[in-house]
Amino acid sequence: MANRNFQPARVAIPVLGLFWLAVTTLPFIFVVFTSMKTLQETYTNPVWAMPEQLNLSNYIQVLQGSFLIYLRNSLFVISVSVVLIVLVSSMAAFALARLKFRLNGPLFGLIVAGMIVPLHVTLVPVYLMIRTAGLYDTLFALIGPYVATSLPISVFILTEFMRQVPKELEEAARLDGCGPFKIFARIFFPLSGPGIATVAIYNGIMLWNEFVFAYVLTSSPDKRTLPLAVWDFQGQYASDIPAVLAVVTLSTLPLIIVYAIGQERIVNGMMAGSLKG
């Protein structure tokens, strides 16, 4: 009896699993294959055909263009932003999780509510503000909005994390002569390592892929970040599909490499966004 009930599941599960594997990976395979084809091939051969030879000329062409500048810009903006996000949000989280003051509860609610605000609503005023500040079309234009928009979720994650630290540690530190500043710097910040890693990974990936602020607040290629590389190259090469898809591959590659190294951490970090349930 039980066995007969099991039969459909036994067949369906591998079939579904493989089917979705195809759905997920085929577009990637299409991109990688096409990026290795010559332009001529894309016109003459069917789309699903393998590249005639291992042809990296599209990649060379892209890398000789300004791709590396975009990459460098991304690395710069992301690292500065993530460092600031971690610092600012862990300080705020410490105050909200451990210090007693009158507005603690409402303030936490208000900051966390910032998660729902659609960023596009802030786009125009931020654009005007950045222009007025003379930061338009600089890498620094991105850092302020990036840090600020990442704060609500980061403060939320770290506050929850710091609330888990036993209060006796804080008390022991007070007996050892620490005021709130040292308790933060010497005890809570180092102890929040896993929470900070989550915040850094989540925001790092989000900002690595961020498009709209970068699109609006910068204009020249040497001030733009990686997602804009795809956009700009698409405009530049228009119908040279293999070259465009080579850029797509190259811009995704860094994250895939990082992902290959620490999948569990990254999956968990990315899921941090769902904590707000």
């Binding site: 789309v47 949000s89 410490f94 210090l99 302020g144 500043f181 498009f211 795809v230 990315m270």
Partner: protein, 311 residues
């Protein structure tokens, strides 16, 4: 061993009372100041400023700004393109919930059951989430390409020429094609969410149920699925709110076109400001978008709370 220390107690007393005490009092302010400052400058002020700008007629350049009161809002009320794009957002939300969540649940169950190789599958399934929406948009623009894209290519090879379409260029298909990609991108997220919930299902309950003679099917339908209920509510909330503010992928793939067929509020707002240079009216669209999202967020939170108490 002496009880007294080098510094006399009285001296320590004085020191500990004065300066540090005042500093400790200020600690919450000092810790919170950077975060609050940043949020005020880049989130709160722009939000309020957007409403102020919505009262202007301004192309964004120079000082040609003119205060026109609520005229922009009146125009918005009669703007069929805006209401059409808001409707598209709602369609997007509806299909996100109806398509993404069931598939995600099924995949989560598949991964939960398939012990062998499920780690590798999980890693591969997750890939779409790592790609930037721009890269994804460009990718699928090529997949959908009527002349060189694999979809039409395969349909043609199968002899189904009548099925081939200009997927993104035909107003009848553009929105559907875009929604399909949105689903493709977001399913892994919900899959991992459900998978986490499933793996937190207590093993003892499964074992107890088996002792009670329950079959695998019963355990799934009567025990595990109800266990996912809370996660399901969270997922619906996330999907709905996320859909209302969707931008990147649609902007890259269609720009909202053709003929506003795939227009959503965010793309419409963007084009009004940065393509038509109607900064005042664009801000009206943005502010309206904010209000609509807040209302929808509040309503869906309320509904989800109601479900919580009923069950």
């Amino acid at each position: 061993m002496s009880v007294g220390e080098a510094v006399t107690a009285a001296e320590k007393l004085r020191r500990s009372r004065a300066g540090s005490r005042r500093l400790h009092k200020a600690a919450p302010t000092i810790f919170l100041a950077p975060a609050i400052l940043l949020l005020m400058v880049f989130l709160l002020y722009p939000l309020l400023s957007s409403f102020r700008l919505s009262l202007l007629d301004w192309n964004g350049l120079g000082d040609g700004a003119r205060f026109i009161g609520l005229q922009n809002w009146v125009r918005l009320a009669h703007d069929t393109v805006f209401w059409n794009s808001a409707w598209n957002n709602i369609l997007l939300a509806f299909f996100s919930v109806v398509v993404q969540l069931p598939i995600a649940v099924v995949l989560a169950v598949v991964l939960d059951e398939a012990s062998k190789g499920s780690r590798l599958l999980k890693i591969l399934y997750f890939l779409p989430l790592l790609m930037s929406s721009v890269a994804l948009g460009v990718l699928f623009k090529n997949v959908y390409d009527p002349n060189f894209g694999p979809i039409n290519g395969i349909l043609g090879a199968m002899g189904l020429y009548s099925w081939t379409q200009d997927w993104l260029g035909d107003p009848n298909f553009a929105l559907g094609s875009v929604i399909a990609v949105v689903c493709w991108q977001n399913i892994p997220f919900y899959m991992v969410l459900f998978l986490a919930a499933l793996s937190s299902f207590p093993r003892e309950i499964t074992e107890a149920a088996r002792l009670d003679g329950a079959t695998g099917r019963t355990i799934f339908w009567r025990l595990k699925l109800p266990h996912l209920q809370g996660t399901f509510r969270t997922a619906v909330l996330l999907a709905v709110i996320g859909s209302m503010r969707y931008f990147d992928l649609i902007y890259v793939m269609t720009g909202g076109g053709p003929e506003n067929a795939s227009e959503v509020m965010a793309t419409y707002m963007y084009r009004t400001v940065f393509n038509s240079f109607e900064l005042g009216y664009g801000s009206t669209v943005a502010s309206a978008m904010f209000l609509i999202i807040m209302v929808i967020a509040a309503v869906s939170l309320r509904i989800s709370k109601r479900f919580e108490t009923e069950v």
